[in-house]
């Protein structure tokens, strides 16, 4: 019986999620290609890659792409490192629950409250950074503050599942803490790091909501992100530009995620996993 097989059983379990994902994400994703090669949303004349070249030539898109890449390149590694270090400290020092709770709490705080607080501190009456050259710093801070707790949960779960025998063996062999960290813990954490990186990339897109609440559709040019461009194109009914820019960005993300998977695969080969 096919349903006796574990593989099919698993498939059956994820079927509802796959159907939802297919209908709500995969089909629209491919359906959008039609718009990106049409003259406009209301005129389906085929224009090949004209919209893509227009988007690439657009100065606003270039600024948005530059800011988004800058934000991701800085904030994602910083967040991963910070959450990993905090997780390690909590694990090693057996920190009280209240510490964990205080780090995780920002996940549950509504964006409006977070933005209100940051506006007060870094806005006109505070350090006045939001309108300055350093506005991106505020955005990175919001992102780190909100997402550290999320990554922390994943890392703490990973640490509690770590094979203690390997650590103990290395201690018997005379390895100090930093050697253990460099040669055992970090390599063992590669699959978790890949997962955390992907989750962080996904979460990094959500920062738009905060920036939007902070400064609206046209913020300080230093924090004008791709989502602003895309959102404004939606308001202007320019779906063809919206989809073209979204595909360009998706392609870039695919490349990054693909590289992460290669890294994961290489690691699995090295440690003899699947």
């Amino acid at each position: 019986m096919i349903f006796e097989s574990k593989k099919y059983k698993g498939l059956l379990f994820i079927l509802p999620s796959l159907i939802g994902f297919g209908i709500l994400y995969v089909i629209p994703f491919f359906g959008g290609i039609k718009y990106s090669v049409s003259k406009s949303s209301f005129n389906s004349t085929f224009v090949a890659f004209n919209n893509y070249t227009d988007v690439f030539k657009n100065n606003a898109f270039k600024i948005a792409l530059k800011n988004t890449c800058f934000f991701m390149i800085i904030s994602i590694p910083v967040l991963i490192v910070i959450s990993f270090v905090i997780a390690l400290m909590i694990y090693e020092l057996k920190a009280p629950k209240i510490v964990k709770l205080s780090i995780m709490l920002p996940i549950a705080v509504p964006s409006g409250t977070v933005v209100g607080f940051f506006k007060k501190v870094f806005g006109f009456n505070g350090f006045n950074l939001i309108d300055s050259e350093y506005a991106m710093l505020v955005v990175i801070l919001i992102f780190i503050w909100k997402n550290t707790g999320y990554n922390l949960i994943i890392y703490l779960a990973g640490l509690s599942q770590m094979d203690k025998e390997v650590i103990e063996a290395s201690m018997i062999d005379g390895a100090n803490y930093f050697q253990r960290l460099q040669y055992i813990i970090i390599p063992l954490f590669t699959p978790i790091n890949v997962f955390v990186a992907i989750v962080t990339i996904i979460n990094s897109f959500k920062i738009f909501k905060d920036i939007y609440m902070l400064q609206g559709s046209y913020p300080n040019p230093k924090i004008y992100m791709l989502q602003h461009y895309i959102n404004n194109k939606f308001n202007d009914l320019q779906y063809e530009k919206l989809t073209s820019s979204a595909y360009i960005f998706s392609l870039m993300i695919f490349v990054v995620v693909f590289l992460l998977f290669i890294l994961d695969k290489k690691h699995a080969k090295r440690v003899g996993g699947n």
């Binding site: 019986m1 606003a60 600024i63 006109f124 046209y218 202007d236 779906y239």
Partner: protein, 443 residues
């Protein structure tokens, strides 16, 4: 086996539900052959009694249902998002209603609207200046005229300006008025001191897609505005920060705005140059004539010519359902009979856009003993409309007016600053804004 049976059962149920839903949808499609949908922002349509009355009549006479899809939204931006989503559907709403304060050109320029030339019989009766690419169907128009206090002019010993009055004359009257005693600072004063001078500067070049803000002219307007606002001529709240002024002028739900409105209302009956902050429709002679007689007012065309004329009307959605019926509906709204009815409504709804009924309007005016001055004003405005001098610029030039609104909101911070900016600081702030607007313009 049991699991397989359960799975088959679930799939069957899902398919059955799916088919039933499809059936319901296709059944409702049949009903929808006799239906048109009008999309509006919240309950904007209620502002137009003519429209409401005509919908009832149309439904009764044709048996076609007119469905009002009033999109509820907290902000206008939210409404635009919801509306845009609806326009994306193949059998979307038939007609989109645009009030006098909404911009429709974006929808027409992006190909949403159907070209109605030759498809609506009464369309040719509309004044040409009110048309936009033969895709907007105006139904009513409003010309917001300026109302001057005649009593005050007499007191100040000033000559009454005529219809061709200039900004210089207006400022001269204002100067005399301010010399009398300090006056409450409000949005009208802000417009005179900041908004209008800034609008007259050529800051935005739409063709070259450049905004130049960081220059001496803009700096001078800011400095001059600060000097005037904080002079002894105005009564201002010394505790107010720029955020308070921002709320007072732009946040219509705020306490500060309401307080300012109340103060303005109580102050209305005292000596003010401009009576009624929001002006009056200079074309509606039945109203203007009564006001002129009863309240001793002088009603004049606006000095800022490009924002006086506004229209309300519809665009026909290219992807809409039953567009032919939608156009038939609009044809009726443009008929002499319905248009004339609009003139008779003293309140909302605007003035007819149908140029063929001018004689009939004159007859009504004679019958109602409308003052000569009110008729002269109406004819003056219509002459300018026919000549193409007055147009609903604000509704057809979204870039310029969206820019102006953004600019005025942003500049508040520089004008109502706690500490005065040095020249260098002011340049830096203006440069930041200039960069922001250039992104917006080049998007």
């Amino acid at each position: 086996m049991k699991k397989l049976l359960i799975l088959v059962l679930i799939i069957s149920i899902v398919l059955m539900i799916g088919c039933t839903v499809e059936n319901i949808v296709s059944n409702s499609e049949i009903h929808k052959h006799n239906e048109i949908t009008i999309v509006t922002y919240n309950d904007t349509y209620k502002k137009y009694p003519v429209l409401q009355g005509y919908i009832d009549k149309f439904q009764l006479e044709t048996g076609i249902k007119v469905k009002i899809d009033a999109i509820e939204a907290n902000t206008y931006d939210d409404y635009i998002k919801k509306l845009n989503t609806k326009l994306y559907f193949k059998k979307g709403p038939t007609l989109i209603l645009f009030s006098e304060s909404e911009n429709y050109s974006k929808y027409i320029d992006n190909g949403v609207a159907l070209n109605v030339k030759g498809r609506i019989n009464n369309y040719k009766k509309i004044y040409n200046s009110l048309k936009y690419k033969d895709s907007f169907v105006p139904i009513g128009m409003t010309y917001v005229a300026t109302i001057l206090n005649k009593n005050l002019l007499e007191e100040l010993g000033m000559k009454e300006p005529n219809f061709n009055w200039t900004n210089k004359e207006y400022l001269h009257i204002k100067k005399k008025w301010l010399e009398e005693e300090p006056r409450y600072f409000n949005i009208t004063e802000y417009k005179d001191i900041v908004v209008n001078p800034l609008n007259r500067l050529e800051i935005i070049d739409k063709d070259k897609k450049i905004v130049t803000l960081n220059n001496l002219k803009v700096k001078n307007v800011i400095k001059d505005a600060q000097k005037k606002i904080f002079s002894d001529n105005y009564i201002i709240n010394s505790k107010y920060s720029y955020m308070d002024y921002y709320e007072m002028f732009f946040d219509y739900d705020s306490d500060k705005y309401l307080k300012s409105m109340r103060k303005d209302y109580h102050y209305e009956n005292r000596n003010k140059v401009l009576k009624y902050r929001f002006g009056i429709n200079g074309l509606k002679t039945l109203v203007t004539s009564t006001k002129m007689k009863k309240e001793n007012l002088l009603i004049l065309p606006r000095i800022d010519k490009d924002i006086g004329l506004k229209t309300w009307g519809f665009i026909v959605n290219k992807n809409g359902k039953n567009v032919e019926i939608g156009m038939k509906f609009l044809d009726g709204l443009l008929s002499d009979e319905v248009q004339l009815l609009m003139f008779n409504f003293s309140t909302y709804g605007g003035y007819p856009v149908n140029k063929n009924i001018e004689d009939k309007i004159s007859k009504i005016e004679r019958k109602n003993n409308v003052s000569k001055k009110a008729i002269e004003l109406r004819k003056y405005i219509l002459k300018k409309i026919k000549a193409g001098i007055y147009k609903p610029y604000r509704q057809i030039d979204s870039v310029k007016y969206e820019f102006q609104l953004m600019l005025h909101k942003d500049l508040m911070k520089l004008i109502f600053t706690d500490k005065l900016y040095t020249d260098e600081e002011l340049s830096m702030e203006l440069q930041k804004l200039e960069n922001k607007y250039n992104i917006w313009l080049n998007e």
